[in-house]
Amino acid sequence: MTTQRIVLPHKKFRGWGLRLLILAVYLYVGVLVLAPITALVNGALQNGLPSFLAALNTPEFWQSFSLSLQIALGVVVIQAILGSITAWVIVRHSFRGKALFNAVIDVPFAISPVVVGYMLLLVFGRNGMLNPVLSALDFQVAFALPGIFLATLFVSLPFMVREMIPVIQNLDRAQELAASTLGASRWTTFWRVIFPGLRTALLYGVALTMARAMGEFGAVLVIGGGVQGRTATTTMYIFHALEERQYVEAYTAAIVLGLGSVLIVSLADLLRHRTQH
């Protein structure tokens, strides 16, 4: 970042007014963000460390966690490929209805997850549009893994595309032109000239998609139904544990899930800052 800083001569602004404003922001962030996080840690440890560790050691939790991880990894691979292609098409191609196409990308960001799950149910469910085809093939989507996978794919769609668009816009096209003038094939140009410029954004998009996919709940609840074990993701595990008043189990799983997501995103953030400077 190169921002030109002009120091105003008599505006040091170190009075009480500024201190009050900063205090207000600290209070706001403290009450809004930090207090709930502290409460969660406190809640998980309410019966002491041993019961926290016991909750961490249940096979149901690890089953649900590994299922969430597998789904998220699959979703990330698809988004990394198709999301990047979509970003590329939006930036580099011109076609009619592009503005609308661009707006459609944001739809999953704003549509309620419950509605997402319900839409998929209308397409793939028992009374759904595709039901005749699916039952003929004996392929179950709703209340099964494919449904959960599709729901997660839907809600995480905008992240990769939105991360890639500004980076593709800033690519230096003269370099691509130079490469092809020097006889490089399209494939070589992509790997040697285009891809290196996209790598960091790709990594960050992967992290955001991953965090979003691991944490999806509403859509998965509706389409997955949540049969314990087979289709229970980590969020469903937390929801069921809460309903059964197994609070320490629920809070412990919530800590692992929250910490995992924060770690993934922070790691990508760190990498991004390192490559920028």
Binding site: P36, K98, V107, V115
Partner: protein, 277 residues
């Protein structure tokens, strides 16, 4: 530096066409077909039946509650987001780096986990919740204040992160000139800084509103499912899906989709499609 290639040279060659086909198919299958199916389903019994479902007292109240809690959140978020972004960009104070990291936390934390955290902090069995509820008569959990808090937590980064880059690039010479001409701090903020920040503040707020209207994971935990009191539109849709009330589920889903789409299209229009084309 951008090199503009002559358009005529870019006759669509087959690999590019393949990319476009892949991305169109992806968006069509993932977003447009489910949208079309749900809209067709909601209006299947005609406009009168759609309207009857939406105007049922329970449904209408759920929509009303969703809208006013989201609107209240948006106002608070816009004010505090603007203040936070402003002091973060313009001043240095102890703990600024940590504050900057904390602002991103809600982006990574799954919304279900957010709900769990708020229930632990403000729940009726907890010390703070008990104090607020019994001493002050202010119920947070299973009531609208909890919904507003959850929405504030989730959308906090949106406004801050939209304003920050604009504020960084703001030309400070104008402020300097105004100060030289004898303008006070308040006048400078009102006449120079605020007009430049009005658009990003507004668009960031709209984005958080669109996101809030559909929010489910945090709200279902914090607000529960009490009709006429704490049942939001998304939670109402879940109930309708579970009781196989297809007409109600489709109708309210369409209302939610319409609100989100309208807000997103309006925001894109305001920003002059800067993000895409």
């Amino acid at each position: 530096m951008k090199a503009v290639l002559p358009r005529s040279r870019r006759k669509e060659r087959s690999p590019e066409l393949g990319l476009r086909t892949a991305s169109f198919t992806f968006i069509l299958v993932m977003v447009l077909i489910p949208l079309a199916v749900i809209i067709q389903d909601g209006f299947k019994e005609g406009l009168a039946e759609f309207w009857r479902q939406v105007s049922l007292p329970v449904a209408a109240h759920a929509i009303y509650l969703t809208l006013w809690t989201s609107a209240l959140m948006t106002i608070i978020n816009a004010t505090m987001g603007l203040l936070t972004a402003f002091i973060m960009v313009r001043y240095s104070f102890p703990g600024k780096g940590i504050l900057n990291a904390i602002i991103d936390l809600p982006l990574a934390i799954p919304t279900l986990v957010t709900g769990v955290m708020l229930v632990i902090l403000y729940g009726p069995q907890q010390a703070l919740g008990q104090f607020l509820g019994q001493e002050l008569g202010f119920q947070v959990i299973f009531a609208p204040p909890g919904i507003v808090l959850a929405l504030l937590f989730i959308t906090f980064p949106f406004v801050v992160r939209t304003i920050q880059p604009v504020l960084l690039e703001l030309d400070r010479q104008q402020e300097h000139a105004a100060a030289t001409l004898g303008a006070g701090r308040l006048t400078i903020f009102r006449r120079i800084i605020f007009p430049a920040l009005a658009l990003p503040t507004f668009s960031g707020s709209l984005l958080s509103f669109a996101r809030a209207v559909g929010e489910f994971g945090a709200v279902v935990i914090v607000a529960g499912n009490i009709p006429f009191k704490s049942q939001t539109a998304a939670v109402y849709v879940l109930g309708a899906v579970e009781s196989e009330n297809r007409l109600a589920a489709s109708a309210i889903s369409i209302v939610l989709i319409a609100i989100s789409l309208a807000v997103i299209l309006f925001t894109n229009h305001l920003l002059g499609r800067r993000r895409g084309a």
